[in-house]
């Protein structure tokens, strides 16, 4: 139901090579990575640290220009950040501390010109209700817990009704219990609205749970290793008898062994 092979992809990343400069080096983060995200996909970029998944997401967000290849959203090349690709970051300081929860969500709506005045307020409150924070609408971010801050960021992202919601390890800084709850809440929200989300994580269980399609990246530089389907339940495959998470684990693990062999020769 998520993918219609006949339809055009919403987001297409083709042969994208990304490089960034540090003080001393020019680092290639990803090399000729291609993937396609369709409408209502829960598309996960998964890989160990150093596979360029966050850099890739930032490039989709428009913060980075590829040195090679192209990123197209609805057929148009991405050149700069914009409200059609709302980001949810890992860091808690993504909320503006001088605005209340409601103002934070409203500010996004108003400053991007999507809504005005009362309409913006109604839309904001509607989304805050969706993430169960109505009681805290007039609280300032510093009074909220980490999980609540992330919920506000998600509400803000959804309120903008972006073409694709970009999530950069949004639950990585949360404790294990809160993280699980947030994953479930995100899936519930998706059941409700069927938004398109591009989700970056380094956690295999999270990828298996959240995604319906998982892009596996290998590190240094990031290259596509596999693209897998996930039902979200991590069941044993009737043919091979292997769980999806084990398959992914083996693929990443095999990589490590190969690397060690190379370095020890």
């Amino acid at each position: 139901m998520d993918e219609d092979q006949g339809a055009l992809p919403l987001l297409s990343v083709s042969d994208v090579t990304l490089q960034y400069k540090t003080k001393e080096h020019l680092v290639t983060a990803t090399y000729r990575v291609s993937f396609q995200v369709f409408k209502s996909d829960r598309y996960v970029l998964l890989g160990p640290s150093g596979c360029g998944k966050s850099t890739l997401l930032k490039a989709v967000g428009g913060y980075l220009t590829p040195v090679e290849g192209a990123i197209r959203l609805k057929g148009e090349t991405v050149t700069k950040p914009g409200p059609d690709r709302m980001m949810v970051f890992q860091e808690f300081d993504q909320l503006l501390p001088w605005k209340t929860v409601k103002q934070n969500v409203m500010f996004a709506l108003v400053s991007s010109g999507k809504y005005k005045g009362k309409a913006a307020e109604d839309k904001a409150m509607h989304c805050i209700e969706k993430v169960n924070l109505t009681k805290f609408a007039n609280s300032f971010p510093h009074t909220l817990s980490g999980g609540m801050k992330q919920r506000v960021a998600i509400a803000r992202g959804m309120a903008m009704e972006p073409d694709v919601l970009l999530m950069d390890e949004p639950f990585a800084a949360l404790d294990a219990l809160t993280r699980r709850k947030m994953q479930e809440e995100l899936l519930q929200l998706w059941d409700d609205i069927h938004f398109t989300v591009l989700f970056v994580t380094h956690s295999i269980p999270e990828a298996v749970k959240i995604g319906n399609r998982i892009l596996l990246l290998s590190p240094h530089p990031g290259q596509v290793k596999a693209e897998l389907n996930s039902s979200g339940r991590d069941e044993e495959d009737p043919v091979t008898g292997k769980r999806l998470s084990d398959r992914i684990h083996n693929m990443l693990f095999a990589d490590e062994i190969e690397e060690e062999e190379v370095t020890h020769v």
């Binding site: 950040p81 300081d93 503006l96 300032f140 510093h142």
Partner: protein, 289 residues
């Protein structure tokens, strides 16, 4: 294996009813509440200082060197009632505000240039490194030659004393705005002036406010010192001139009254204006404790 660890039975307990607790939440006593207020504690310190002053001066019994607190207050009251002190204070404040405002505007312009380009950044850093350590009062002789005896030269040295600390703090505030917050701002499609005014300035506000406070203190010091040096040449003269004049007439309680006014104005601005701004902004936002 089992003899390595002590074996214990498991247990599960029922939670005690709420009503069984003695205290879950108890309001503080009136005294605790009163003492929790900043003003009360600081007021007590001021009273204690006044008492020590009074006792020591009475013990010294030499009004020419060190008048008592009560005679200082008396002199202060006299000068206020007959008007000379208030007009002189107002004269000083007026000049101060002009210099302060001009300094802040220039600092804003300079920081704007600094954050938009790398060369501008280098420009600001070099200028602040050069001029920030230079005491404003050292420029006064030059200022007098350039602008003559009058408000012009006062304002020039005031600008010098305000500009650098404010620019330095504002700039470092802008530099310390987190990358995430910048990305959030750009995600909304904000750019140029709206990006600076809606994201960068509020995000850097704790530093900006600190700069404004330092700038204010520097300006106030510079002004009084400058007035002491060339005083009443521009007509009525300000507080610095008031102090200088009374010293010449050996009206020591009045000298103290003049100094006292300088302190009072400083206290009022710090505690009423800056503290209020702080409470309504950075503290409410949790950006400063």
């Amino acid at each position: 294996m089992s003899d390595l660890q002590v074996q214990r039975a498991e247990f599960v307990r029922e939670q005690v009813e709420m009503s069984a607790f003695g205290v879950v939440e108890k309001p503080l006593t009136v005294w605790e509440k009163v003492f929790n207020r900043d003003e009360v504690r600081k007021g007590l310190i001021l009273v204690a200082l006044a008492v020590i002053w009074q006792a020591y001066a009475a013990h010294l019994n030499n009004p020419l060197l060190f008048p008592t607190f009560s005679s200082t207050i008396e002199a202060l009251w006299d000068h206020m009632v007959n008007g000379s002190l208030l007009t002189k204070a107002w004269f000083s404040i007026k000049v101060l505000l002009m210099g302060y405002a001009a300094g802040v505007v220039l600092a804003t312009l300079l920081t704007m240039v600094a954050i938009t380009s790398r060369l501008g950044n280098d420009f600001l850093e070099t200028l602040t490194a050069m001029f920030n350590p230079l005491p404003a009062i050292a420029l006064l002789p030059l200022s007098l030659i350039w602008f003559g005896l009058g408000n012009g030269s006062l304002i020039f040295v005031l600008i010098h004393s305000v500009l650098w600390p404010v620019a330095l703090n504002t700039h470092s505030g802008f530099m310390s705005v987190s990358n995430t917050m910048r990305m959030v701002g750009r995600n909304y499609g904000l750019g140029g002036f709206r990006y600076v005014s809606k994201i960068l300035i509020p995000a850097a506000f704790p530093n900006i406010l600190a700069g404004l406070k330092i700038g204010w203190a520097f300006a106030w010091r510079t002004l009084i010192a400058a007035e002491l040096v060339f005083g009443a040449t521009s007509g009525s003269g300000g507080l610095g001139w008031f102090i200088y004049e009374n010293k010449n007439e050996l009206e020591i309680p009045s000298v103290f009254a003049g100094l006292f006014t300088v302190i009072l104005i400083g206290l009022i601005v710090e505690n009423l204006i800056f503290r209020n701004i702080e409470h309504r902004t950075v503290r409410k936002w949790g950006m400063q404790n």
